[in-house]
């Protein structure tokens, strides 16, 4: 609910563990809003919902957020820290070994930009850094808002490979997209949104 405007207007949806769900829909249909809701980033004003066993209405949303990995429209970090420092911050906060950071940067192809200030990275590089952050985070539920936007072709292929890995590892992925997946061997379930409502689960 944003200034009296209902962002979502009727969502009835069950997502299984370790599956890939793709949320599609026209611009302004409510995809981003749905993902934010699932991640506990926005509050539910009415209705009911449970994610990872936590009630969205009056559960502890902080616990939920801790289990969620978020990739937003804007690659989102401390703009004044370098790529590496941002990841190290996440690793330390979650008590992950700091050694993983270099590996994650290498994997998304940012090793040569590790010490560039985040705000100077290009759009696609910022998106890649967001993916590296998720690699360090290793969340149970991946919420990806248009992950393909501004990635180059190599990046998209890499990303599909990553998704396969993640799903095999038992995590759940929900992503919004306008572009189709590259690799067709990923099994996915499509959710179509229209006017804030899920039209075809």
């Amino acid at each position: 609910m944003s200034k009296g405007f209902p962002l979502l207007s009727g969502v009835d949806l069950v997502i299984d563990r370790a599956t890939l769900t793709i949320v599609t829909g026209a611009n302004g249909a409510g995809k981003t809003s749905l993902l934010r809701l699932l991640g506990g980033l926005d509050a539910l004003t009415s209705g009911e919902g449970r994610v990872a066993g936590i009630d969205l209405l009056d559960g502890d949303r902080r616990l939920l957020r801790r289990r969620v990995g978020w990739l937003g429209h804007e690659g989102s970090f401390y703009a004044d820290l370098s790529a590496r420092e941002n990841l190290e911050f996440a690793a330390r906060a979650l008590e992950r070994p700091v050694g993983e950071v270099a590996a994650a940067l290498e994997r998304v192809g940012l090793a040569h930009r590790a010490s560039t200030t985040t705000k100077r990275l290009s759009a696609g590089q910022r998106r890649r850094l967001g993916i590296a952050w998720l690699l360090v985070r290793r969340p149970e539920l991946w919420l990806l808002d248009e992950p393909y936007a501004s990635l180059d072709d190599a990046g998209r292929v890499f990303f599909d490979g990553l998704l396969a890995d993640v799903l095999a590892g038992g995590a759940t992925v929900v992503l919004s997209a306008h572009d189709a997946l590259r690799s067709s061997d990923l099994e996915s379930c499509e959710v179509r949104m229209v006017g804030g409502r899920v039209s075809a689960p």
Binding site: L41, A43, H73, G75, S76, D80, L81, A93, G130, R137
Partner: protein
């Protein structure tokens, strides 16, 4: 909690060190403001050191507002919020960390401004040094309060300008207490009452912050 506090504090201080805003922008601003305050109140009166403590705290207050603002702006850059929220950091730790970083920055500022007021407003050097402990505690209380109020103004429209409205009334007693004990030090005495106020304020804000910061973040 302590671990998170340390992590957050070092992060804030690193960003500060990187951008040099304190060194190149806030400190010069404070010194110039001190000079101008002296000017605005007229050349004859500025010379008299009785106005010194008041002006010192007034300028410190405005500088503190700038820095609280910056400290919060770091967390609220578009998108940063969502990412950091999913780290699920312990809110008490975040509060302590941000307050700690702010305290250290304000201490640096305070010492520089104290030197400035000795030079510009002719407050007595030795007595100013005696006032230093009470200044440091007052600034720590100001940081705790500022971090808390800063979190209150996050996200809404125009937080930069809402912050002063919220903080100024709360800072008033701190200001009075700080000014009084500084003045007292200048006159060679020390007044325990003012110590009580700043210490109580510091403790109260820290306690409330540790307890309630999570409530603010939640929303």
């Amino acid at each position: 909690m302590i671990r998170i506090a340390w992590l957050v504090a070092t992060k804030d201080l690193r960003i500060e060190a990187r951008s040099r805003v304190l060194l190149w922008q806030v400190l010069p601003f404070g010194v110039i403001a001190l000079l101008l305050s002296g000017l605005a109140l007229g050349p004859t009166r500025a010379g008299t050191s009785t106005l010194g403590p008041g002006l010192f705290y007034l300028v410190t207050l405005f500088v503190a507002l700038l820095m609280i603002n910056r400290s919060q702006a770091l967390e609220n850059a578009s998108g940063t919020r969502a990412s950091v929220a999913t780290l699920g950091l312990d809110p008490a730790g975040v509060f302590l960390g941000k307050a700690l970083a702010l305290t250290i920055e304000l201490w640096v500022t305070g010492v520089v401004l104290l030197a400035g007021s000795v030079l510009v407003l002719h407050t007595d050097l030795l007595h100013s040094l005696q006032a230093l402990p009470s200044i440091l505690v007052t600034l720590a209380a100001l940081s705790a309060a500022g971090t808390l109020y800063g979190a209150l103004t996050q996200g809404g429209d125009g937080p930069a300008t809402l912050l002063p409205v919220l903080t100024l009334p709360a800072f008033a007693p701190l200001l009075i207490a700080g000014e009084r004990s500084f003045s007292a030090a200048l006159q060679g005495g020390a007044l325990w009452q003012w110590w009580v106020i700043v210490v109580v304020a510091f403790a109260a804000y820290t306690a409330v912050g540790v307890l309630l910061y999570g409530v603010l973040e939640e929303s």
